[in-house]
């Protein structure tokens, strides 16, 4: 039963959690979208969040990103209870979100989008477009060296380029907790590989990541832990080396593990 032979822990499981969500509930009238979910995230940990459409995972992530207020429950960041009343609040606590819709203003160019809501200004309070352009050029080049059309409205860019802007916007600022909602759904293979590399790089920097994804390959490739939601409830939370793909599918579909389930790492050790 030597766990050391298996996938080594890539984060410090003993470290204080970055985020602690406790008893989060969200009601829409009579519908319970999130039902008493408690979930932690540690520095350098990548947690895959899975579930059907409508299982409540996007809702939970929106609560953490400040886009939606929970009906009940509390969120602690760095041990302190925080109020996530708005996306600005979340950002002030180092929570950045890459939305599946990307949340870009189509008529604005890449630098304007990157700095939207936290524009760089000159001493007189004017927009410092020159500096924003230079900074955008720098950060976008690290993600995609071919990104040069920075002055075009983002509506004229490719899906991959738009995704890169959304990612750049999340990592440019002081991010501690990153929520990625289907970051590779609209991407080709090389761009997907770029995102995977980026996740590994951010993890190495001690950033905690929630990765909402439907892609099992991504989840097994990148995540340290996987949590599954079903009908608003958290039905499973397992280190990735404990479970098979079929176990996760069972959790997603039935809301429970197969009856004959044994942790994968124990099977392998036998």
């Amino acid at each position: 039963m030597s766990q050391t032979q298996l996938a080594p822990a890539r984060f410090d499981a003993e470290a204080a959690p970055l985020v602690e969500m406790r008893g989060i509930e969200k009601h829409f009238g009579g519908v319970v979208a999130v039902d008493g979910v408690s979930l932690d995230l540690r520095p350098g940990e990548v947690v895959g969040v899975l579930g059907h459409n409508g299982a409540g995972k996007s809702c939970l992530m929106r609560i953490l990103s400040g886009a939606m207020a929970p009906s009940h429950g509390e969120i602690r960041i760095g041990g302190d209870v925080v109020e996530m009343g708005s996306p600005q609040d979340a950002r002030a606590h180092g929570v950045e979100t890459i939305y599946q819709t990307l949340a870009l203003a189509d008529h604005l160019d890449a630098p304007s989008n990157l700095f939207l809501g936290r524009e760089l200004k000159t001493r007189l309070g004017n927009l410092d477009d020159k500096r924003m352009l230079a900074e955008a050029r720098k950060v976008l080049a690290t993600l995609n060296p071919n990104f040069t059309n920075l002055k075009d409205p983002v509506s004229s860019l490719s899906g991959g380029q738009r995704q890169v802007i959304a990612i750049a916007r999340a990592i440019y600022f002081d991010v501690k907790i990153l929520i990625m909602d289907e970051p590779t759904a609209a991407l080709g293979p090389s761009e997907t590989a770029m995102v995977a590399d980026l996740i590994r790089k951010l993890r190495a920097q001690g950033i905690g990541i929630f990765l909402v994804s439907h892609d099992m390959h991504d989840v097994f490739d990148l995540c340290d832990r996987v949590v599954v939601m079903n009908k608003g409830k958290l039905v499973g939370a397992h280190p990735i080396d404990e479970v098979h793909k079929d176990d996760i599918l069972s959790l997603i579909i039935k809301g429970e593990l197969p009856t004959d389930w044994r942790p994968r790492n124990l099977e392998a050790a036998q």
């Binding site: 949340a103 203003a105 604005l108 524009e119 040069t148």
Partner: protein, 341 residues
Amino acid sequence: MANISQPSQGAWTRMLPSSTAAFHRISALLTLAILVIAFSFASPAFLSVNNTLTILLQTSVIGLLGIGMTMVIITGGIDLSVGSVLALSGTVTGMMVKAGVPVVPAMMLGVCMGAACGLFNGFVVTKMKITPFVATLGMMLIARGAALQLTGAAPISQLGEAFGVLGNGALFRMVEMGDNGFPRVIFPGIPYPAILLVVIAIAASYMLRRRAIGRHIYATGSNEEAARLSGVLVDRTKLIAYTLSGALAGVAGNVLMSRLITAQPSEGVMYELDAIAAAVIGGASLMGGVGGISGTMIGAFIIGVLRNGLNMGGVSSFIQQIVIGFVVIGAVYIDQLRNRR
């Protein structure tokens, strides 16, 4: 970096949101030039100094309304109340002057009245979540009704000479006494309304292009949800846009009433449509996110020149409405054709 277009962009081109907007502006400017040339051939008096000044005066009211309208349209909204707010602001100023308040504070109060109407519009749109069309349609009736009720539907006249200075005065006006004892105008000067329009247009353009609030106005109209998630205070942004539109309607009302030296509660009917037409001809999109002050100014002058030129050509005001209606449809159609490419 070979495919960055226009590597050596000057300061003024950087102010443009995109090349399509620039293209639209050039085509609108061309239209304006063609109109001016055509009308000068049709009527020799068209290009005279006096007529040019008249056009400036007539356009300043549409232009002021159009600036506010452009901001609201960029946020993805519309302000149907500006014609009525113009009348209410002008009559409030008139009543103040009549009651003995000096002209300058009275005019400021009138502008504040307009701003208050705009703030109310913004409140209804953002907090009560009523669509801008309906919200400002309501204000259109409220403001007009208030103006008529306050005055008993009667114009307020005999407001004194000082009240007429803003609308009728001019900078650098040079007059000499002729030999016959009558004054002779050497240079008619630059009318105050035209100066006011230029100053406000520059200020508005600066706000939209160089200040964060301007960028937020574009972002809100471009993708409201994205703007909200990016930390833009969308409601506050809209409130500011509607309030400025109301305040500028107040300014326009004071200019217009001052020019008439009479506070007319029934002035400005359908002016909102001219303002919308100016913005749309100038390239603003009613879907939001697109538009600019320079475009709207060109649009305002196209309407002003059309009105004036057709007047001088003896075309009835009914026909003028028909022509301007077609111009609006044509301008939007050409814009769509270009965007489809």
